[in-house]
Amino acid sequence: MPSPMIRIDNITKTYGPLTVLDGLSMDVMPGEKLALIGPSGSGKTTILRILMTLEKINGGHIEVDGDQLFHMQRAGRLAAADEKHLQTMRKKIGMVFQHFNLFPHKCVLDNITLAPMLTKGVPRAAAQARAMELLDMVGMADKAKNMPAQLSGGQKQRVAIARALALSPKIMLFDEVTSALDPELVEEVLNVMRRLAVETDMTMLLVTHEMGFAHDFADRVLFFDKGKIVEEGKPADIFRNPRQERTQSFLRKIIAAGHRV
């Protein structure tokens, strides 16, 4: 049994008086494709943001690829991670956002090459060659010189995926990456992600309301409610035979809202 790529151990997350995560523990295995589903406000985004170090935790520990994420050994004791440690850990993790977050002042190609050149010292020519490969994979090679403002939402999101992949992370986090898209643009982004799931051995965490996609994409589905894992299992089991009443009623609502399962 290999050791987990991500080990979340009893973490707590609060925003002021609001406790969002209260003693959450979960493991994600290397290469595993994990779908996080659940009602809005259940803490799914918060989990991804914590893993991307965009949020701090109030308690507990997270291990990523064998190292502590928010802690480090200092003078033989476990201390809070400093910026340098966080930067080392972030190399392992990439994230794609709901609203793309492309750099509007840079063309598609420069959006992708910026971080590899600055953070890894990749020479421009090599960074551009790699960027073009990735753009080709997401079907955007012909838009390399376009500015983000000239792209559709689906195109922006495919560029954002290529940008995250350019740093070759071991873990990719996808937070409702199709929720901001017009319905007819959803499929082009999902197709890219299907390819990634099949062709790479990255560990992937996906927050989504596209239940049909989660069913095909995921090795395992976690159903969240109020910051807790209510039910987890293989997609076929969760979607066809949910055991918990809350999972059942959530899926009923999702289907009523027009999402396919």
Binding site: M52, T53, K91, G94, H105, L114, M147, A164
Partner: protein, 219 residues
């Protein structure tokens, strides 16, 4: 009949001094604006306090008093400045304090999602500022910077008080020597206006350059 050509030449000499003051003062103001504006956003409390004190002090006291300090009081501290140096110092520090608030406001106007994208791409603080935040904040600063530069140009007239022979000073000289008020002051009116127009045009050109490709994204 007065031979005006010599007097106009005097005023043009003054115009060069005014331009010199404006250019050097603006350069110093720009440096101070970024230093103090970014200083106010620093994660170090000491730097934030220092920047705040500078900004509040120079915005809260008049350019007139600042100039007199630079020229007449600093020598007591062993720092003797030429009138031009004193003028540039006072104008640059004064306008820089206003510019600092512009820099701070523009940087803060760049959305959180841009910072988060940088964290997700593992860009450090310096790279984040240099390659992502400032290039987007700059187009937001330029219109106000243009106004500040014009304010600085108009403010240069105060240096005639420390006997620097700028355009206004020369106009007064011409007036005293010729007894005519209209001609010298009409001349400098036109010249000040032309300089302000030149600044505006330059700024518009810079704005177009800096916001190239950003069309339809913001502002």
């Amino acid at each position: 009949m007065i031979d005006w050509s010599g007097y106009i030449g005097l005023i043009l000499q003054g115009a060069l001094v005014t331009i010199e003051l404006t250019v050097l003062g603006s350069a110093l103001a720009l440096v101070m604006a970024f230093a103090a504006g970014l200083g106010r956003l620093s994660r170090f409390a000491g730097v934030r306090v220092l920047a705040t004190v500078y900004i509040e002090f120079f915005r809260g006291t008049s350019i007139f008093v600042q100039l007199f300090w630079a020229y007449f009081v600093l020598p007591f501290a062993g720092i003797t400045l030429t009138p031009l140096q004193a003028g540039v110092l006072a104008l640059g520090l004064n306008v820089g304090a206003y510019g600092a608030e512009v820099v701070r406001g523009a940087v803060r106007a760049i959305g959180r999602e841009q910072h988060e994208a940088c964290v997700a791409l593992n860009l450090g603080r310096y790279h984040r500022m240099r390659h992502v935040i400032l290039p987007q904040a700059l187009p937001l600063m330029l219109p106000t910077f243009g106004n500040n530069a014009i304010e600085l140009l108009k403010g240069t007239a105060v240096v005639s008080l420390i006997s620097l022979t700028d355009m206004t000073f020369q106009a007064q000289v011409v007036r005293a020597q010729t007894g005519s008020t209209l001609i010298p002051f009409a001349t400098i009116l036109v010249l000040y206006f032309a300089m302000a127009m030149a600044i505006s045009a330059g700024m518009r050109w810079l704005e177009r350059r800096a916001s190239r490709g950003l069309d339809g994204v913001r502002v």
